[in-house]
């Protein structure tokens, strides 16, 4: 990133423009509480578009180009390849000139990294999934991914999630009484829930009673999970409140941010009223 680029992105004007955009988009998203409306839709589409674009640019700039294309052709086409500058960490606008360079259209030079053609081919095969005649080639890529991942994970999975989890459960000797009690509770919980989901026998008599115990464990688990989910959503809401309603109102910065929020609310409310009025007018009599 050049000094001019850096000074632009850290300038007060750019910071305030970013804050204004964040405030307005946050309010637009929360306008969904009223009802589905064009302001919410706009913010939603911006979010999805930005995320997808960010993913694409990052994948190209940090992964596909340096690790695959550069490695294949020894970076010879790009004299201005990123040079590290410790004083200026690399933001994404910095190398825009490089990756949109059309100099890429030159014959490839073989290098010692030719084996990289294999992952390149497998990646291209996945894209062929959309081709009516060649889609079968994508199965090779998926077979490779599934085979490799299964081979790498399954042995460790059995050890880490089965044997290592059973060890403390079966340690009946030693340990404090509360630990023993917890182990017993886990054992009862696991067995009763398994019985609840065991449909090969009719749920009558003892099986019915045990499965009933299982439902209590399930309800507690669902309750804990739901409570945690609510807590997580609250945390996200509070963070937005912290951004929208600054507490340092004795500083010009804080006051300006609050004005930005109140202005945004007023603007959005006006927009929603106008939109409702327009929608009502368009409705056939």
């Amino acid at each position: 990133m050049s000094a001019a680029d850096a000074s632009f992105w850290t300038s007060p004007g750019a910071t305030w423009a970013g804050l204004a955009a964040a405030t307005l988009l946050t309010l637009c998203i929360y306008s969904m509480l009223y009802r589905d409306n064009p302001f919410f839709k706009t913010a939603e589409h911006i979010f999805v578009g930005l995320s997808a674009a960010y993913w694409f640019v990052y994948a190209w700039r940090e992964l596909i180009r340096p690790q695959l294309l550069d490695a294949l052709v020894r970076r010879w086409w790009m004299p201005g390849h990123p040079v590290a500058d410790p004083a200026h960490p690399p933001p994404y606008a910095a190398h825009a000139r490089d990756w949109i360079s059309l100099d890429l259209i030159k014959p490839l030079e073989p290098s010692e990294n030719l084996w990289l053609l294999i992952p390149l081919l497998l990646s291209l095969f996945i894209l062929l999934r959309f081709h009516p005649w060649l889609s079968w080639l994508s199965r090779w890529s998926f077979a490779f991914i599934v085979g490799y991942t299964s081979g790498a994970i399954i042995p460790n999975q059995v050890s880490a999630t089965l044997f290592k989890q059973m060890e403390p459960m079966l340690a009946f000797r030693g340990g404090t009484w509360d630990l023993q009690l917890r182990n017993l509770l886990i054992l009862v919980g696991v067995v009763s829930v398994l019985v609840y989901f065991f449909f090969s026998v009719e749920h009558v008599g003892l099986v019915k009673r045990v499965s009933k115990v299982g439902t209590f464990f399930l309800m507690i688990a669902f309750g804990a999970s739901f409570g945690n989910t609510v807590t997580a959503r609250e945390a996200l809401l509070i963070k937005r409140f912290q951004i929208l309603f600054p507490t340092a109102l004795d500083t010009p910065d804080g006051r300006l941010r609050l004005i930005l929020t109140l202005g945004g609310i007023a603007l959005l409310a006006t927009g929603l009223v106008l939109w409702r009025r327009g929608a009502r007018d368009e409705r056939p009599a």
């Binding site: 509480l33 995320s51 960010y54 993913w55 990052y58 994948a59 940090e62 992964l63 990123p82 040079v83 590290a84 500058d85 410790p86 960490p89 690399p90 991942t149 790498a152 994970i153 460790n156 999975q157 050890s159 880490a160 999630t161 290592k164 989890q165 060890e167 403390p168 630990l179 917890r182 688990a221 804990a224 999970s225 945690n228 989910t229 609510v230 807590t231 997580a232 609250e234 945390a235 996200l236 809401l237 509070i238 963070k239 937005r240 409140f241 912290q242 309603f245 507490t247």
Partner: protein, 281 residues
């Protein structure tokens, strides 16, 4: 709103109450009790026991969407690591958006603690495929991370001194909002045997308690409550409040409101159930 049906009106009353309970405590400062659980102190104590200069690996597997929960944990953890003069290496395997977290939070806390990039900490950015990453890092760390995010050769940086593979890290902490920790446990911890800590969202927390008792995790921060506890453990007299401490005040008030609403809802439900169907109110 005058013509709104009862359900719609009740919805709006709840929205307004939640907003008031979330915004008012930002301006009304009241003291909150500090509490700590074994789960959080496990991670804190592990860091306390590490000798100065030990390398610690932090996986930033969260993005801006979960920064509200996991961000305060990352800040508290980094403050602790830097105060103990540990070397911090940050990487991510959950997506490019998590790089923005590495590149914003780490330099912020490093500046505050007077630490230098390259000497005291390093940012490695994002790599895809955690399974491949962990297997490769377990053999040779630099095979998959030859350069840091500034394109400097990692092996030339003092922060990487003595690190050849994952086994050389004295602690690994996965700060995550997704299931990456499963892979860290199954592949990373299982193959390389490093002590593993976890910082995760509240939604995930309940799923990872079994790994604490088995010793596969040394400690865990779950959601804002976990971050709040950790901030209490690392906070010093007169230091400004951390993000989780500030957020915990409104959260306590909102949760009290939710409990009250649940109680009121249940009372109304059981009262209405006793009435005969179609009976006069």
């Amino acid at each position: 709103m005058a013509s709104a049906p009862n359900g719609q009106r009740a919805r709006w009353i709840i929205f307004v109450l939640v907003a008031v309970c979330g915004i008012a405590p930002l301006y009304l400062k009241f003291r909150q009790p500090g509490f700590k659980s074994k789960v959080v102190t496990g991670l804190y104590d592990t860091i306390e026991r590490l000798p100065e200069g030990s390398p610690v690996l932090l996986a930033f597997d969260f993005g801006p969407d979960t920064e509200a929960e996991v961000g305060p944990m990352a800040r508290a953890l980094l403050r602790h690591c830097f105060r103990r003069n540990l070397r911090v290496v940050a990487l991510s395997y959950s997506g490019p958006l998590s790089v923005t977290m590495e590149e914003s939070i780490l330099p912020e806390i490093a500046r505050e603690s007077g630490k230098k990039e390259g000497t005291d900490y390093a940012i490695l950015g994002f790599r895809p495929n955690l399974v491949v990453g962990l297997i490769t890092m377990g053999q040779d760390f630099y095979l998959i991370h030859p350069e840091d995010h500034r394109k400097l050769r990692c092996q030339d940086l003092p922060v990487f001194q003595g690190i050849r593979n994952l086994k050389d890290f004295r602690l690994v902490v996965d700060l995550t909002a997704s299931a990456t920790v499963d892979t860290w446990i199954v592949i990373g911890h299982e193959r390389s045997g490093f002590p593993l800590g976890l910082g995760c969202t509240a939604v995930m927390a309940a799923d990872y308690y079994p790994y604490l008792q088995s010793g596969q995790l040394v400690g865990m921060m779950g959601g804002l409550s976990g971050a709040y506890q950790y901030e209490h453990l690392v906070s010093r007299e007169g230091a400004p409040e951390g993000g989780a401490m500030r957020a915990m005040r409104p959260q306590s008030v909102i949760q009290t409101l939710i409990v009250l609403l649940i109680v009121v809802g249940n009372v109304l439900y059981f009262r209405n159930r006793k009435r005969p169907v179609g009976g006069a109110s």
